[in-house]
Each structure stands twice: as C-alpha cells, then as structure tokens.
Amino acid sequence: MDIQQQQEQGEPVNELENFFNISFDSAARDQLRQIALWAKICSITSICGYLIELYLWLFGQSRFFSVGGGVLEVLLNLLVIGGGATINYFLFRFARAVSRGVQNMDALHVNSGFNILRLYFKAAGILVIFILSLVFLAFVGFLLSDLQRMQ
C-alpha cells in the first residue's frame, strides 16, 4: 500500500517505511556508476568552457557578453560564468560522491550525493530563470532595433 492510498484511507503514514524498501541493487548501482561518469564528463567540460570564457573576457578580444562595457557587462559575465561554474562544481561533487559510494558500497556517500544533486538542480533552476529572461529581453531588443533599422 503506498502513501497516497494510506492517506486516502485515513491510516497513519510512515514515510520511513517507504524509503527503506528502495535499495541500490545491482541494476541501480550500474545506472549510478554511469550517471557519475557522464556527470563528471559534463561538469569537467563545462568548467573548462567557463574558464576559457573567463580568460577571453578578461584577457582576450572576443567577449561572451559584450554590451559596451560597464557594470552591466561585468554583472552578466559574473552571472553566466560564475553561476555556470558553480553549478557544475556541484555536479562534479555529486559525481565524485556517487562514484565513491558505489565503489565502496557505501550508501552514506550515495545519499550525500543526492543532497548535492538537490543543490545542483536548485541552483540550475534559479540560473535558468535569470538566463532565459535575459536572452528573451536581448532577443526582443534585437528584433525591435532590426525593425527600426528596416523602417
């Protein structure tokens, strides 16, 4: 009987009972191993990309966000590069914790990995809202200026 059925029937719900019935069996461990591998690839390549963008922004000629210099440019670059690098660091920590947990058959590491995954999704969700609204605003601005230019 699941929690929803128990709640519908007015029976006391013991959430502890539920979690203990879920285990990391061999299939789950195999999936976790591959998740950790791909999460590591994803985080390392992304962090390398952000480091290159940081270098180009500080010392190079091309800029990731070039809006005529000033505070806005610094803020945009810090938001995208800093935010992106931070969430990918969370992803790297998740991958490291999960791979260590699976390797040593230690559920504590895997469970702490899920805590880091929660932080990763939380930070990524907030960053996605910021970036999508910025991109949308930039696109509307570009569209309006293009229409003005054509008239």
Binding site: D2, I3, Q4, E15, L16, N18, F19, F20, N21, I22, S23, F24, D25, A27, A28, R29, Q31, L32, Q34, I35, W38, A39, I41, C42, T45, S46, C48, G49, I52, E53, L56, S62, G101, M105, D106, A107, L108, V110, N111, S112, F114, N115, L117, R118, F121, K122, A124, G125, V128, I129, L132, V135, F136, F139, L143, M150
Partner: protein, 148 residues
C-alpha cells in the same frame, strides 16, 4: 538454543536509500521537475523565435546573402538542433522526476531504477552538448588566432 538470525549475504551487502537520502532525493526531484518545465518552456520559445525569425531574415535578406545562403541555413539548422537537444534533455529529466517520485511513493524498485536510467540519459545528452560546445569554442579560438 541458537538465536542468531541468518540473513542472505546479498541482503547484508545491499545499499539502501536512507530517510535523509530519500527526503533530499524527493526535494531534488521537485527542483528537477521545475528545471525541466522551465527549460522546455524557455527553449521551446527560443526554438520557435529562432525558427520564425531565421526564416524571416533569410526571406528578407536572401538576395543580399545569395553567396552565403548555404552557410546561413547551415548555422540556423545547427542552432535549431542545439535547442532541440536541450528540449529532449529536459523532457527526459521530467521523466526522471516523475519516475523517481512515483517509484518512492509506490515503493517500486523497477520504477526507481527506470528513473535513474532517465537521469543517466539526461547527463549523456548534456555531456555530449557540453563536449561539442567546448570543441567548437576551442576551434573558434584556434581559427581566429592562428588562421587570420
């Protein structure tokens, strides 16, 4: 009298999702659901904007760009594929959140494992996207610094 309870060896070695792990996983699932929905909506909107504006731009400036029209189409299609890959990753992430949430509430190990598989597919897609982006960035740096 022997009071010891003999457990199978596999059970002793079994790793379980503990209470804290389960709670944090459920919160992670909630945030991943939000992230997936925001990504699908945002990327879908951008996909439509780029598809609409791109074809409009080519229709208006098509004659001026006649020599480079092939490259413009290629770039437009590449951008659209990029957005489509993000949308697919977000859909699979949404599936992960649904399956893991249902797996925990129904105590269904198979559903939970399927959820983990969906998370793996999400990270595979994201890993390929980020690797390609890194390669493209490196290529553009090399081509602008050494071939110009």
């Amino acid at each position: 009298m022997d009071n010891t309870i003999e457990l199978p060896k596999t059970e002793l070695l079994e790793m379980n999702l503990d209470y804290d792990g389960g709670q944090t996983l459920q919160e992670a699932v909630r945030w991943s659901k939000f992230l997936a929905i925001a990504s699908i909506a945002g990327m879908g909107l951008l996909f439509l904007l780029f598809a609409g504006y791109g074809s409009y731009y080519i229709a208006v400036n098509g004659q001026e760009l006649s020599s480079a029209l092939g490259i413009v189409w290629l770039v437009l299609i590449a951008i659209l594929i990029y957005f489509a890959a993000w949308i697919v990753a977000a859909i699979v992430l949404l599936r992960f959140s649904r399956q893991v949430k249902r797996g925990i509430s129904h105590q269904d190990q198979t559903l939970f494992n399927r959820g983990l598989k969906s998370l793996k597919i999400t990270f595979v897609i994201l890993g390929i996207i980020s690797s390609l982006t890194l390669l493209l960035t490196l290529y553009s740096i090399i081509s602008t610094n050494f071939f110009n």
